[in-house]
């Protein structure tokens, strides 16, 4: 065993020196290789982490929200619907929710205006006050210290005291939020006192949700119920789709890389043939030559994989996936400054390793074997 290990160590040592003789070729190959792995690993790590984050956060979303739909569009829900919803067996609480959108013409950004629930003791807001999300707070030009000025559709500017900021760590869910009191919300949007944006349901037993949804949709025509599992499924599909789309866009460059690698790995240069011939002539066996070249392929591909993986991890979890941000941002003015909690899926990393390291290493073996079994004299000629 000891002999075997030291033999492999010498082979590796010899391979590294042999690779150093063809520095430029191997360096170019290594750089292209690790960059492809870096991009693939970044997309995979980011996709997985954001999916996990969305699932962990949104498991606290309301069990169900009831919307009113009219002519295919959202309509305001009447207060009268709350009492019959509260009477449905299994519904613990039905509560009207007030939230809406505001386009800020000065900043050219969209904010989500929301009234916190009466049960939320931590965010109690009096008329004339507001709590803003980290994305809104970042726009210092507009905020001017402690006041938030909102321009309603009709009427004079609304001036609100900013009494608190939401935790910057929560930017992923709260970047564009502006929390304000119910009277201010209704005055701002000129809403009558008997309507809500939608109704949030608290349901006692999660297994009863499907039955309750069926009861609501058949009893109250024109309503639509979005359950928590719908929300979770939406985000699962959004990120799978986006990750798939990004990988599809990368497909062309990955394909080009495959051709490049295959060309480099499967074709032997005259110098490499001569080297194999000399090694055979001085007594190396075919197995030794194969082992040496196996190490060469293995060192390049495993090295590129490890470096690509480490850099992708740093990129996603320490530099907030800055290179992927333009794809995610779209036309948003407010983009959350968020740090994802690291999440590593061993199966995903093993799959990436299998599809990057193994093909390259395997592709190098066949031409080497062909050259190694030929007579040294004819190989060197």
């Amino acid at each position: 065993m000891k002999n075997y290990l030291s033999r492999q160590r010498y082979l590796m040592d010899f391979t590294l020196h042999s690779m150093l003789r063809r520095k430029v070729k191997n360096l170019v190959l290594f750089v292209v290789y690790f960059m492809v792995i870096f991009i693939l690993a970044s997309v995979m790590l980011f996709g997985q982490a954001v999916r996990e984050e969305a699932a962990a956060l949104l498991k606290n979303a309301p069990e169900a929200t009831v919307q009113q739909i009219k002519m295919g569009r959202h309509d305001l829900v009447n207060k009268e619907l709350i009492a019959p919803l509260n009477d449905i067996r299994g519904v613990k609480k039905a509560e009207g929710r007030l939230w809406g959108y505001y386009f800020d013409p000065v900043n050219q950004a969209n904010y989500t205006l929301m009234v916190p629930s009466a049960d939320d003791k931590q965010h109690q807001i009096k008329p004339g006050q507001s709590i803003i999300g980290p994305g809104v707070a970042a726009n210092r030009e507009l905020i001017r210290d402690k006041f938030l000025l909102l321009l309603p559709p009709v009427g004079p500017l609304m001036k609100l005291d900013v009494i608190d900021h939401l935790d910057p760590q929560s930017a992923l869910v709260s970047a564009d939020l502006v929390l304000l009191s119910e009277p201010d919300f209704r005055a701002f949007f000129r809403l009558p006192a008997d309507v809500y944006t939608d109704i949030g349901l608290t349901i006692r037993n999660e297994r009863e949700i499907a039955t309750i949804v069926n009861k609501i949709t058949s009893k109250f025509l024109g309503t639509r119920v979005v359950t928590r599992s719908d929300i979770l499924r939406t985000y699962e599909s959004i990120f799978t789709w986006r990750e798939g789309l990004l990988l599809a866009l990368l497909g062309a460059s990955i394909f080009a890389f495959v051709i490049f690698v295959f060309d480099k790995a499967s074709g032997l240069s005259a110098e490499e043939r001569r080297e194999i011939g000399i090694l055979k002539a001085i007594g190396w066996e075919t197995g030794d030559v194969l082992a040496m070249k196996f190490w060469e392929g293995g060192l390049i591909s495993a090295g590129a994989f490890l470096l690509g993986l480490v850099l992708a991890y740093l990129h996603v979890f320490f530099f907030q996936a800055g290179l992927l941000e333009p794809v995610l941002t779209g036309w948003s003015v407010i983009y959350p400054d968020f740090h994802l909690a690291p999440h590593i899926d061993i199966l995903q990393i093993t799959t990436l390793a299998f599809f990057t390291v193994v093909p390259y290493t395997a592709a190098t073996i066949v031409p080497i074997w062909r050259a190694a079994v030929t007579d040294p004299d004819s190989v060197m000629r």
Binding site: Q169, V226, Y235, I238, A341, P342
Partner: protein, 95 residues
């Protein structure tokens, strides 16, 4: 090579051992405010709250208006959220 392996192992360990980085706080806020969506794409209402959007919101302006936000072309419509009515109608038909 050895250094790279050590780095990769360190990264894996960091991934498994690092805490939730405020995840529980964020989850608490979601519960308190009853939030339903991530604030990743704030340019339009159907990208800000894709789970709450109706199927027509991408084409909201007039009958021939196509969705013109880049995010709209990148995220799939939550079709599965529109099956509740169909499911209940089927159940009623069975009865």
């Amino acid at each position: 090579m050895a250094a790279l392996m050590v780095l990769a192992i360190a990264v894996l360990l960091h991934g498994f051992m690092s805490g939730d980085r405020g995840l529980s706080q964020r989850a608490k806020l979601v519960g308190q405010l009853g939030l339903t969506d991530l604030a990743l794409f704030t340019e339009a209402r159907y990208t800000r709250h894709p789970s709450q959007a109706d199927l027509h919101s991408a084409f909201q302006d007039h009958p021939m208006s196509f969705d013109h936000f880049p995010t709209g072309s990148l995220i799939a419509a939550p079709l599965q959220n529109f099956n509740t009515r169909a499911a209940s109608s089927t159940d009623e038909a069975k009865k």
